[in-house]
């Protein structure tokens, strides 16, 4: 049985209920789902299709594209079916917020803290919305594509204040 056959009923059900758009690449199935259904879709997978574990949750920044600017990517695994499925939730750049997956999988806690820290995407209903790897007082979200990798960032009159704010020198 191929992986696709195992996933067929899952994909079909999510397509009907949440208008998920399936895609397959290199034998991996990913579903593009509207962010307002994120918790419902994940709960359906957990409770009806035995996806017991959240393997990974991360984000991708498609800057300068703004609508959607981010994709939040959740990878789920089912021990019973031995299959992996990927859910992608497009998130708008102007209002980067969606609901937290912690009610479905407690392991999403730190993963979402990391996404907030590095991408600046807010998770509504998250139990512990602090930064995780960057210092508490850090400004900016380093994994965004418009965040410079390093070196001295050139300040122009239009962005002088903005650049100044996340520069790492002692202030006053």
């Amino acid at each position: 049985m191929t992986m696709n056959e195992m996933l067929q009923p899952v994909v079909q059900s999510l397509q009907e209920r949440f208008q998920a758009q399936p895609a397959e690449f290199r034998g991996e199935v990913s579903l593009l789902i509207a962010p307002e259904f994120n918790l419902e879709a994940v709960l359906a997978l957990r409770d009806e299709f035995q996806f017991e574990m959240l393997l990974d949750e991360t984000a991708v920044d498609y800057w300068p594209q703004n609508e959607p600017r981010f994709h939040v990517v959740a990878t789920l695994y089912s021990f019973t079916r031995n299959v992996v499925i990927e859910l992608r939730f497009p998130v708008d750049g102007n209002a980067a917020e969606l609901r937290s997956l912690v009610p479905a999988y407690p392991s999403a806690n730190w993963k979402e803290r990391e996404i907030w820290d590095l991408f600046g995407i807010r998770f509504g209903g998250h139990p512990d919305p602090r930064r995780i790897v960057m210092p508490y007082e850090w400004e900016g979200h380093p994994l965004r594509k418009d965040y410079p990798l390093g070196y001295e960032e050139v300040q122009f009159s239009f962005n002088a204040d903005q650049v100044d704010r996340h520069k790492r020198y002692a202030k006053r």
């Binding site: 990974d56 991708v60 392991s107």
Partner: protein
């Protein structure tokens, strides 16, 4: 330092119990420079006398922006960063990254390279478990195991030096195969180590497995059940110590693991002692795998012939114009896999190590995310330590086998 701001209790109000606010319980800072935290891990412990009420792990002291750095490098250069993540499992990290690149590019790997990858990944697992055995024994005051475990680890690191020229940061496994073929004395040296190891593992076991002091410090400490492991996303030896026989090498085999005959060791206890037993048994299973792989090590090339991704051998460059062009293209702009995204995972000594790789069709990875086992394991610390003594926190940290370079990235 002017904008430095200490964390105030108000920010952690939602994490500690009400008694901490009235001063009834004590908040104690453990780490980040404490040797028993296995790296720069800081734990904020809320203590009622000597009992842990809450444990708040604070990570990020080793955050080096690996993912951001990898996005700015070519696929070949980015691989060098993977060595530095989990510095006890560099070959396993290389392997996972290469599997992701190969999946993305549909790159073939010759059978000899597959077998060499398995041999090296399993030797790496043994060396990582040996270091874990030594250091976590040391945490529980079993001093002598450390010395013996480091002695055997040295033999394995010598093999890595022999094949890759480096003892730790090898970057030996490359997309499409391995860097170069192993030297002639490789097989004998590995066989020599395999002959020694089983006896030595018996020695470690004689020091610990039935040692009453060790049992006292490990049994019924840091207990997790399978359900909790799944909820917290824990894999690897921690999950297997709860009785769930889940191993990626069996569940979703890669690099030809399906050809080898080995067992998945499990235990029912779910405590520190069960994790110890699982890891020791895993070392024996790894020896079995290396032995089988060594016996049927095929001959042939060690890198793919796909010239769009793998540089041609030096001898071809002198006689073939095409080889020269490929070489030039690969070392100036690198290779550009088709656009798309893949997730590749391997069983690292600590659990499932996953690489999420997204390509936009350019010679640099658009997004690399490393789903690391130490990160998941650390998240379980509040559950693991609740209700235990402070002294047991040390044993629990040891038992989940964390590497902070892996957790912080």
């Amino acid at each position: 330092m002017a904008d430095y701001r200490a964390t105030s209790i108000d920010e952690l109000r939602h994490l500690v119990s009400d008694r901490a606010l009235s001063g009834e319980t004590v908040l104690l800072n453990m780490g980040p420079q404490h040797p028993s935290t296995h790296g720069v891990l800081r734990l904020l412990l809320e203590l009622d006398g000597e009992i842990v009420v809450t444990c708040i792990p604070d990570i990020g002291f080793l955050h080096t922006g690996v993912e951001k750095n990898m996005e700015s490098k070519g696929y070949q250069q980015a691989e060098v960063m993977t060595d530095r993540l989990d510095y006890l499992n560099p070959l396993g990290n290389n392997l996972t990254y290469c599997l992701a690149v190969e999946k993305l590019a549909e790159l073939d790997v010759p059978p000899r390279a597959q077998a060499l990858r398995v041999i090296l990944a399993e030797l790496q697992r043994i060396s990582s478990h040996l270091l874990w055995l030594g250091t976590s024994g040391l945490d529980l005051a079993a001093m002598s195991v450390f010395l013996y475990a480091m002695r055997e680890r040295e033999l394995i690191l010598d093999i890595f030096e022999m094949v890759a020229g480096q003892r730790m940061m090898t970057t030996y496994i490359r997309p499409g195969g391995v860097w170069r073929d192993v030297p002639a004395e490789f097989e004998d040296t590995v066989q020599h180590v395999l002959n020694i190891l089983p006896r030595r593992i018996d020695e470690y076991e004689s020091l610990l497995t039935t040692n009453p002091l060790f049992l006292e410090r490990t049994r019924k400490i840091g207990v997790l059940n399978t359900q909790q492991c799944m909820e917290l996303g824990l894999t690897g030896p921690v999950l297997r110590a709860t009785g769930k026989a889940y191993d990626l090498r069996k569940a979703r085999p890669y690099s030809g693991y399906e050809q080898y005959d080995f067992n998945i060791p499990t235990q029912q206890g779910g405590d520190v002692y069960a994790r110890y037993l699982v890891r020791v048994a895993e070392m024996r299973e790894s020896i079995k795998i290396v032995e089988q792989a060594l016996q049927k090590l095929p001959s042939g090339p060690v890198r793919s012939n796909n010239r769009k991704y793998v540089p041609p051998p030096r001898s071809e460059i002198g006689v073939s114009m095409e080889a020269l062009i490929h070489h030039f293209k690969l070392w100036t702009e690198g290779f550009a896999p088709p656009a798309g995204h893949v997730y590749a995972a391997t069983e690292s000594p600590r659990g499932e190590l996953g690489v999420y790789l997204e390509s936009d069709g350019s010679p640099k990875p658009y997004r690399v995310h490393l789903n690391t086992p130490s990160f998941a394991n650390l998240q379980a610390m509040p559950v693991l330590t609740k209700g235990h003594f402070v002294a047991d926190v040390v044993g629990i940290i040891g038992s989940i086998d964390i590497v902070l370079g892996d957790a912080d990235r």
